[in-house]
């Protein structure tokens, strides 16, 4: 409870246990399980349509067709894949970015201000987390269709703006990371509430913000059900729904030519997120640890 948002490692323990080859090998099975499908995807994105069917799945085969596949994926059907990528970026920047902003503001308010209705907010938001999100999707669709929002980017962006998990994480993070005395001092100096927030609070919350941003980005980037029901026009599809439509096409008679596009498109879809997780490891692992400190 008293721990700050930094992981307290036990590396200071006096004796370090010996490493175990057996345990490493056993855990290695899970590692293989996790990586083999990704490996399969990476390898098969380098194959031509023909060798996809002819060669062993986990072995490379000639000719090396990755660049050709990428070029075909990006240009197929007048470059619709690029359009889907841009749509996804739009949904992520506005949706996940907006969700993070709302969560940071709200979490800060819950952690540092006392205001009427604060306890009720806590109860309602925690209760909402238990409501199955997809159960809300159909009524949300009906509501949005009355408001004329379906089949527009807004129908995907607006629901993405709310992340109860993000609010909760920012709340616990802000409660631990912001010394109240610092804010008091800023107020005595005459800084307005908002100015104090921007100048003092935001820098302190940075690791929490990165974590929430990363997880809302994953949620938005990977969103499938919501855009599937909201969007009819393929021009507004995100990558997930677009890939699914290609795969459906590949299952039809004569549609096999799209198989290698589905595989290469899948690879292109996951690379940005995997890169983000690898590059920002330090931040999100610390942020997650902070969320679990609250015992």
């Amino acid at each position: 409870m008293s721990a700050g948002p930094v992981i307290r490692r036990r590396s200071a323990a006096p004796t370090r246990p010996p490493r175990s080859p057996l345990l490493t090998a056993l855990t290695g099975i899970v590692l293989l399980y996790s990586l083999i499908p990704l490996l399969w995807l990476g390898i098969n994105a380098t194959k031509t349509q023909q060798s996809l069917f002819d060669s062993f799945g986990l072995a490379f085969s000639r000719p090396f067709a990755l660049w050709d596949n990428v070029r075909r994926t990006l240009s197929y059907d007048d470059g619709v894949f690029v359009r889907w990528l841009l749509n996804t970026l739009l949904y992520v920047v506005v949706g996940a970015g907006g969700a993070t902003a709302l969560a940071v503001l709200g979490g800060y308010a819950l952690a540092t201000y006392d205001f009427p209705g604060r306890r009720a907010v806590f109860a309602v938001v925690i209760g909402a987390v238990a409501v199955p999100g997809t159960a809300l999707a159909v009524p949300t669709f009906l509501m949005f269709s009355r408001m004329g929002l379906t089949n527009t980017p807004w129908s995907v962006i607006i629901p993405s703006l709310v992340s109860p998990f993000g609010l909760y994480l920012m709340w616990t993070f802000a409660a631990a990371a912001i010394p109240t005395e610092l804010l008091e001092a800023a107020r005595i100096d005459g800084a307005g509430e908002f100015r104090a927030f921007v100048r003092i609070v935001l820098p302190l919350l940075a690791p929490g913000i990165v974590t929430v941003l990363l997880f809302t980005t994953v949620a938005t980037w990977n969103n499938y059900f919501l855009p599937l029901i909201m969007l009819k026009n393929p021009n507004w599809y995100p990558l997930t729904v677009g890939l699914k439509s290609w795969n459906d096409q590949a299952q039809t008679a004569g549609g096999q030519v799209v198989f290698s596009l589905v595989i290469t498109g899948s690879l292109l879809t996951i690379l940005p997120l995997i890169a983000a997780f690898l590059l920002l490891q330090r931040y999100w692992q610390a942020g997650l640890a902070a969320g679990s400190v609250k015992q």
């Binding site: 036990r10 899970v30 503001l105 540092t112 009427p116 999100g133 159909v138 996951i270 679990s292 015992q295």
Partner: protein, 308 residues
């Protein structure tokens, strides 16, 4: 989206309260209002709207008429809905324990400090979480495929005929495998984060008492992360009852197996978008929401009772 945090948040809140005592004002609402406005539009309004819809019925002649609880009465005796509920319940009872146990074992292995290259294990096993369900399902459906997947490779190489993973018998297990693959690393990370903050003094005390590895795990580690275990279980339950993406994407490959009412969510989806039965779809959504909350609440009560 699941919550990688523990459910017992009250201490954090009360501690924050004590720091703020004496300053009660509406300023906080200025910061919270944007979130609450979006929350009301995206959570509260649809819940209210679906309750409203569930009390009506659309008829070809006469339009929308008030029918009271008729839709709920129909739902309770709807064999397709309950077949779907049973299916996801079986899924829940089998898949969730396997996934969480696997995640727990990996987290304990990482936390033991006995692995070579622990950082590589941690990040690699977590990576599938970053893969969209759509891509995960497409990937696994290729691997399952008997034309150019791994199953086909194994059949060719060994001259055997493995059972089709997407046949009626194995379909649910195959979906379970995809879901396990997607979330085992995520749950592992939640458990691992919780294990990292167990106070070192507890281990020192255990060492002085001469406690063995297994004893340390059962007496210290597992009780210490019970909060994380409960929340991971609850969110896995919610996820199971909401099962949609994976079977929906596999539908094209095995239409006879993945029927339109394969899961409650797929049923609600097909009621709305193929059947135009919006008010009944809303009823199904509410019934499923209530079942989910009841089960999640029961698990949480059990988890908390074990506290004492």
């Amino acid at each position: 989206m699941a919550v990688p945090a523990q459910p017992v948040v009250v201490p954090a809140v009360s501690a924050a309260r004590s720091r703020r005592r004496g300053r009660r004002s509406w300023v906080g609402w200025a910061f919270l209002a944007p979130f609450m406005a979006a929350f009301a539009l995206v959570f509260l309004a649809p819940i209210g709207y679906s309750i409203y819809l569930s009390l009506f019925r659309d008829r070809l002649i006469g339009g929308r008429t008030f029918v009271g609880v008729d839709n709920y009465r129909d739902a309770l005796t709807d064999s397709r809905l309950w077949a779907a509920v049973v299916r996801v319940s079986v899924f829940l009872v089998v898949q969730v324990p396997i996934m969480l146990l696997l995640a727990l074992l990996v987290a304990l292995a990482l936390d033991s400090g006995r692995l070579y290259g622990a950082a590589l294990f941690r990040i690699s096993i977590f990576l599938p979480y970053a893969v969209p369900a759509v891509v995960a399902t497409l990937m696994w459906s290729f691997l399952y495929g008997d034309r150019f997947g791994l199953v086909a490779n194994i059949n060719d190489a060994l001259g055997v005929t493995l059972p089709d993973p997407l046949s009626a018998h194995l379909a649910l297990a195959s979906v379970g495998n995809i879901v396990t693959w997607e979330f085992v690393g995520y749950n592992m990370l939640i458990f691992y984060s919780a294990l990292r903050v167990v106070p070192g003094s507890l281990y020192e005390a255990a060492a002085i008492d001469g406690a063995g590895q297994l004893r340390v795990i059962t007496a210290i580690k597992l009780p210490a992360i019970r909060g994380a275990l409960v929340i991971a279980t609850i969110f896995s339950i919610i996820g199971s009852f909401q099962l949609f993406n994976e079977p929906n994407i596999l539908q094209k490959l095995s239409r006879n197996v993945f029927i339109t009412s394969y899961t409650p969510n797929m049923y609600a989806y097909s009621l709305s978008f193929s059947g135009q039965q919006y008010s009944y779809a809303a009823t199904v959504a509410i019934v499923m929401g209530l079942i989910t909350m009841a089960v999640a609440y029961a698990v949480q009560l059990r988890g908390l009772r074990a506290d004492r």
